[in-house]
């Protein structure tokens, strides 16, 4: 085993002994490592794939940084990284807005690195407990690829839940100005809008129709996707016309999972990433793995909260700790918040926390997941409230508040 692989394995092993949760603030990190086989005709086989993933979550915003690097015997072959910021509005009458910004860089040892910045806005319409749809658009600006203009992106999607699985269908259209060499133009018989020096610029566009399936049951997660790319032969290479892939993840505990899967991923022309076929079996080591829901924005549904705990926190604060899996948001509300929702921060796959001051006395508290109905938390005394619901009764005595 060469030195680079040993280094990667050492990093992975180090993550098995993570720092105390308190030191991680709101960071979530995921690290994947495994033995991968990638074949696009150039890359060698049997490589390691390193995929760090960091999240910083706020109630209505999140920042994500993730990347992946395929490492061969000697060096990094392909690496790409992306930093994303997402801002979501509160849900009003089932409508929610989302704004996404991405900045990414891809490095391929066969060519120069490429960069891209893109911004998208989406409007989501949520159908209570059943599904939803969204539509939106944006603009992407790539550099150092054979695209000379910003690219317009228009997208729409619809999702629903079937037998515990979330099924999503999306259509995304890309249109941009592309540079083509003279011989390519002649071979493809395409029109040339601005010919110069043996090359020309022409309008290109293609559309991706994709279906995604996500299912979670106990420690098992299944993800599958399939897609078709519309466009003429000039804009869509044969290896990116159709694709499908599937991944299975089995969580051994909160931090370690076995991952296996395979399939084909299409090329991403705006990011300069080639189409890839892959088959992989690996280990996912996660400090605090985030949910991999196929639905990008939360929807109202009823999920049972597994546990509710209250711990003393520094500076006279109390920390609410809730365990519930498979959700995007968890809120609490009570007399202590003037009956306004407070959103908890995800600390793990099914772990949510919120620190706040709680005065001594009896407090009424309710909890909800994904904007669903308010419920009394489990494991505490309960009573009917004055408005037809149930509330939990939380006792804070003077000793616990000191």
């Amino acid at each position: 085993m060469n030195e680079r692989k040993v280094t990667i394995l050492a990093v992975c092993t180090a993550l098995l002994v993570p720092a105390p949760r308190a030191l991680a603030a709101q960071l979530v990190s995921t690290l994947q490592a495994g033995s991968y086989t990638v074949s696009d005709g150039v890359l060698p086989e049997s490589m390691l794939r390193l995929a760090p993933d960091f999240h910083f979550d706020l109630p209505h915003a999140s920042i994500t940084a993730r990347g992946s690097a395929f490492v061969s015997e000697q060096q990094v072959q392909v690496a790409d990284g992306i930093v994303s910021g997402t801002f979501t509005s509160p849900t009003v009458y089932g409508v929610r807005a989302e704004m996404i910004g991405n900045a990414s860089r891809a490095v391929d040892d066969r060519s120069l690195g490429t960069d891209q910045v893109d911004v998208q806005t989406r409007i989501h319409v949520l159908f209570h407990q059943r599904g939803g749809m969204w539509f939106g658009g944006g603009v992407a600006r790539p550099w150092r690829v054979a695209v000379v203009s910003s690219a317009d992106i228009a997208a729409a999607g619809i999702w629903t839940t079937l037998a515990g699985a979330t099924v999503t269908a999306t259509f995304t259209n890309f249109s941009f100005t592309k540079t083509a060499a003279g011989d390519t133009v002649a071979a493809a018989s395409v029109s040339c809008a601005a010919p110069s020096d043996g090359a020309c610029e022409r309008q290109s566009h293609f559309g991706d129709l994709e279906g995604v399936l996500h299912w979670e049951g106990g420690p098992l997660e299944l993800d599958a996707q399939t897609g078709y790319r519309f466009g003429n032969a000039y804009d869509v290479t044969p290896d990116s016309r159709r694709w499908s892939s599937a991944t299975a993840t089995i969580w051994l505990n909160d931090r370690i999972a076995v991952v296996g899967g395979g399939g084909r991923q299409p090329a991403l022309p705006l990011r300069g990433l080639p189409a890839r076929s892959f088959g992989m079996a690996g280990l996912e080591l996660a400090y605090s793995p985030s949910s991999r829901s196929a639905v990008p924005v939360s929807f109202p549904r009823t999920v049972l909260v597994k546990s509710f705990e209250l711990h003393a926190a520094p500076q006279g604060m109390e920390k609410i700790v809730i365990r519930v899996g498979g959700v995007e948001t968890v809120d609490v509300m009570g007399d202590f918040s003037d009956w306004s929702p407070l959103t908890l921060v995800r600390r793990g796959r099914d772990l949510w926390e919120l620190s706040m001051p709680l005065s001594p006395g009896m407090h009424q508290i309710t909890v909800r997941t994904d904007g669903g109905p308010w419920m009394a938390p489990p494991g505490m005394p309960t009573m009917h409230d004055s408005y037809g619901g149930d509330v939990g009764l939380l006792v804070i005595d003077n000793r616990s508040n000191q």
Binding site: S89, A97, Q120, S149
Partner: protein, 222 residues
């Protein structure tokens, strides 16, 4: 259309979208300096009168305002909120008359017990207490037992007996946890309490009561 113009057009659309995203969020986080302003005039007048009455009687007004805000969170109308606040005022007044000068927190907890179904006279045993002893846990567990369908007199006598025997918070909490576990497993709420209170330190040590056949269903009112 040139790339630059297309970029400008798209950027303008995104700025508009961003504003659409941001405005509701700012609105959601803004604090309302006068929550009562969200009520209709009649309801506001009625609730202000109740709050004035509470002040005059030396009762805390925070529980009353909390009921108003809770009503907003449930999207209740003004009349409903007014009725709830008036009822809560009644509970606070009764609890104050029964318990005497106790803290605001204890008064609110006692009001919750009354709201759950206890009789005012059943609170009387809590008027006398050792210095520094809190009845919050006892009241909380009591309210839960009543909500789960334990007969009012059974719940009252069990909680009162433990209180008079000097039971601490952990004893009350353990009793509640055991009873609610039994109820969730299908035992009759009254029977569950009787069984568990005998096992509790200070309770009478007699034979465990077994419900007759066909009585295993949870008869909780929940």
């Amino acid at each position: 259309m040139t790339p630059f113009r297309r970029f400008r057009r798209t950027a303008a659309a995104l700025v508009g979208g961003g504003a659409l995203v941001a405005l509701p969020a700012f609105g959601a986080t803004a604090q309302d300096p006068d929550p009562l302003s969200r009520l209709d005039a009649n309801s506001r007048f009625a609730i202000e009168l109740i709050i004035d009455s509470a002040n005059t009687a030396g009762l805390p007004t925070r529980p009353l305002m909390s009921k108003v805000l809770e009503g907003f969170s449930h999207k209740a109308d003004g009349r409903r909120i007014t009725a709830v606040v008036r009822t809560e005022f009644g509970y606070l007044k009764t609890a104050h008359a029964t318990l005497g000068g106790v803290s605001e927190e204890e008064l609110a907890a006692a009001a919750a017990v009354l709201e759950a179904g206890a009789k005012p006279s059943q609170l009387a045993a809590f008027r006398v207490r050792q210095k520094g002893r809190s009845d919050l846990e006892a009241f909380t567990d009591w309210a839960d037992l009543l909500t789960r369908g334990v007969p009012r007199d059974d719940a009252s006598s069990a909680i009162t007996k433990l209180w008079q025997d000097g039971a601490d918070d952990a004893t009350f909490h353990n009793l509640w946890r055991s009873v609610q576990t039994d109820i969730l497993q299908g035992l009759n709420p009254g029977t569950a309490l009787q069984n568990r209170v005998r096992e509790t330190p200070g309770g009478p040590a007699t034979r465990k009561v077994t419900p007759p056949e066909g009585q295993q269903e949870n008869q909780s009112s929940r």
